[in-house]
């Protein structure tokens, strides 16, 4: 999700009979367990790779190789959106766009300071308070390891105490001497935050860029499911670029593909202490299905019904205006595209410890696949507003 504008509000957990999920400590790995372990490995791989807004080619390569075995074709458009096509059983069947953004928030170097320090500004919306003490990778002519530096507490002047340091006052410290650093890093270089993939209790996993690599993992799960299911619809799966700086990749992806239906897959705020109930969705209770002006009512209804029919866990989410997701751009593309939004609940958005539940990703991927199989001409008729 990008900046604060158009933030989706709220959800309520709908108690549904959840699929009985495998216990994680089973001795022998059954096929379903292996399926989710593969999904976890994929999520780990794509959250360890960097892909800051506008600089997504590295992450795109990893995603492409993982999707390729399951699709008919892969290509990139002019902005770098990575577009996979999977043919349906009927050529004249509906064409559906499934979009998840592959970019992550990051930093861009503005100046190499005397003494060998790098000043920066952000690509995407940071809470500047999370930056001091973070490890980063700077992409100069070589990659350089660094930390976001800060003054030791005893040097913080009285008038600055109790205040948050501004981004302009922060710097990346690589420890390299100035001359050596200038040979490698120029203004304009990109820096990505660094965090190992963290395995928490049950199926909770944490790391950086889960927003929205979790969504990319949903698409991957979906395409793996579709591999074994009959579907008429022609499916475009797109890993979009530059979502975090204002939902930009999706604008041209939707135009270029001109789909009959578009579904954005993103993350939404997970439940944390102190948050208001309407602001968050619970982790582990399935993906959130959004309703509101940004969403075609029939699409939301169909997603809800599909989840119900297949006994998949889900939650409802309501957004009073344009959402901060690719759905925002897709809906108003061309002559208007009926659009839906499916979100993975995620805690601590835009930190390097974004926390998700693997079961939500799996359920979202499966729901998306069943939604695709249900797309037929009868359903398409219902999308016309009478």
């Amino acid at each position: 999700m990008p900046g604060a504008a158009g933030r989706r509000a709220g959800c309520r957990a709908i108690p549904v009979k959840a699929l009985k999920l495998e216990e994680e400590h089973s001795v022998s790995v059954n096929p379903r367990e292996a399926f989710i372990l593969e999904l976890q490995d994929f999520l780990m791989e794509i959250t360890q790779k960097d892909g800051v807004c506008g600089y997504e080619s590295g992450i795109a390569a990893v995603i492409e190789s993982a999707f390729s075995p399951f699709v008919d074709s892969a290509r990139k458009d002019n902005l770098g959106n990575l577009i996979f096509f999977k043919r349906g059983k009927r050529e004249d069947a509906p064409r559906v766009l499934l979009a998840a953004h592959m970019d992550e928030i990051g930093l861009i170097i503005t100046r190499v300071e005397e003494g060998g320090f790098l000043r920066f500004t952000s690509l995407g919306g940071f809470d500047v308070r999370v930056l001091p003490g973070q490890e980063v990778t700077v992409y100069g002519s070589e990659t350089v390891h660094g930390v976001v530096g800060f003054k030791p507490p005893h040097l913080i002047r009285e008038e600055k105490k109790g205040k948050v340091v501004k981004m302009e006052e922060l710097f990346i410290d690589t420890g390299l001497p100035e001359k050596e650093l200038r040979d490698v890093v120029l203004p304009g270089a990109i820096a990505a935050l660094k965090r190992d993939f963290i395995t928490l209790q049950h199926r909770c996993r944490a790391g950086k860029a889960m927003d929205d690599r979790a969504g990319v993992a949903v698409l991957w799960q979906c395409i793996r499911e579709l591999h074994n299911i009959h579907h008429e619809a022609n499916v475009y799966l797109v890993a979009t670029v530059q979502e975090e700086v204002g939902v930009r990749g999706a604008v041209v992806a939707a135009f270029g593909l001109s789909p009959d239906v578009g579904i954005a897959v993103d993350v939404c705020h997970g439940d944390i202490p102190g948050a208001q109930e309407h602001e968050v969705s619970s982790l582990g209770k399935g993906p959130a299905i959004t309703s509101g002006p940004n969403i075609h009512p029939r699409i939301a209804e169909r997603l809800l019904a599909t989840a119900s029919d297949y006994n998949l866990p889900y939650q409802k989410d309501f957004s009073p205006g344009p959402t901060g997701t690719d759905a925002r751009a897709i809906q108003v593309s061309l002559e208007g595209i009926p659009t839906g939004l499916l979100s993975v609940p995620l805690r601590y958005m835009h930190t390097t410890v974004e926390l998700v539940d693997m079961d939500d990703i799996k359920a979202a991927g499966r729901l998306l696949a069943y939604f695709v199989t249900g797309l037929d001409s009868d359903f398409m008729e219902t999308l016309k507003c009478s």
């Binding site: 604060a4 308070r129 001091p132 003054k151 928490l200």
Partner: protein, 342 residues
């Protein structure tokens, strides 16, 4: 590499057992005599080549690091915590931690920037509003793997890049590594090395260690703040990374003994070892309690400069550390040949 290995071990003040075990294993493997006291201080002896008796030299380095302690487990399964020692609070959010004896992984997050009001974003985080998330479903679920009272350390992987070593707890695992390095060498004179506990919560371990060892001269080996950073005036930079080990003139706990300081400067010059003064006179070290032990100990502090101590990731220059080892080694020889009187 010793520093990196030591850096990754959790060892918050009062919970130094894992660091102690690591050091003991090394000592045992090298056949070095050692024992521990009831607080957890670890003592090891280097016999030296000469058989001089009497009150001798003590070298010490603290094993503990700053960290957190679980104060309670909420109904939701989230862990509230206390600070243990002077953790720099502004680096807690967006960090990864290890909780309790089982090293359970956890994260410290915060409400997403999207959900914060402007006023909220403009205030520094309050520690009592933060919590650790281990992914537990509720309190009962969390209690299966962690308990209130569990110690919490940062989960930072140590890494090196050229001469630089990045990691948590370099304050003062770099000092522990230096002591180990010195213990592994042959010296002309004997000394007692003490790996102390609980420095970060008020120099608690070093006092009883000094009482037990009863040294005449003590060198406290530390890792100290380097503030050679943008927008910091030269005189406030404390120490500079890459300019050699730092000698303390005074801090809030000790005035370095003049004779010891002079001797350190002398051997540094003789051996052409770069060193610098620590140009910051605040904060406390084990030297404070060591120097006041029994009827007084001739005490000095030598430190490896390190940026961003007391945070999830700090870094130092391995050359500074090597120079510190050489300096202390030369000091041991010098005390043996020339003696050192107050």
């Amino acid at each position: 590499m010793l520093i990196k290995e030591l850096s990754q071990i959790p060892g918050v003040s009062g919970d130094e057992a894992k660091v102690r075990s690591f050091i003991k294993e090394k000592l045992a493997a090298w056949g070095i005599e050692h024992y521990t006291d009831s607080m957890g201080n670890l003592y090891a002896y280097n016999e030296g080549r000469s058989k001089k008796e009497g009150r001798g030299l003590m070298l010490s380095a603290h094993m503990d690091e700053v960290g957190l302690m679980v104060s309670s487990i909420e109904k939701s399964g989230q862990l509230r915590f206390y600070k243990v020692g002077g953790v720099f609070e502004n680096t807690l959010v967006s960090s990864a931690v290890k909780v309790g004896p089982r090293d359970v992984d956890g994260v410290i997050g915060y409400k997403a920037v999207h959900l914060q009001k402007k006023e909220e974003r403009e205030k520094p985080h309050q520690v009592d509003k933060l919590y650790i998330d281990i992914g537990a479903r509720n309190r009962e679920d969390a209690e299966k793997v962690v308990s209130a009272g569990d110690y919490v350390s940062f989960a930072t992987k140590a890494r090196s890049s050229g001469d630089l070593i990045f990691g948590k707890a370099l304050d003062n695992r770099a000092g522990c590594a230096a002591l180990l390095e010195l213990l592994g060498r042959k010296h002309p004179a004997p000394f007692c090395a003490v790996f102390t506990v609980q420095e970060e919560v008020g120099l608690r371990g070093a006092g009883v260690a000094a009482y037990r060892v009863n040294p005449r001269i003590a060198l406290v080996i530390e890792t100290t703040t380097a503030a050679d950073l943008p927008d910091v005036d030269e005189h406030e930079q404390a120490t500079i990374v890459g300019s050699g080990p730092a000698l303390t003139l005074r801090d809030d706990s000790v005035i370095t003994h003049r004779r010891v300081l002079e001797r350190l400067l002398e051997v540094a010059e003789e051996e052409k070892i770069p060193c610098q003064f620590r140009r910051f006179t605040g904060s406390f070290t084990d030297a404070g309690v060591v120097s006041l032990s029994r009827s007084g100990v001739l005490t000095a502090v030598v430190s490896t400069p390190c940026r961003y101590i007391h945070s999830p990731v700090s870094f130092l220059n391995a050359a500074d550390w090597s120079h510190l080892v050489e300096l202390v080694s030369a000091f041991i020889s010098s005390v043996d040949t020339k003696g050192l009187e107050p």
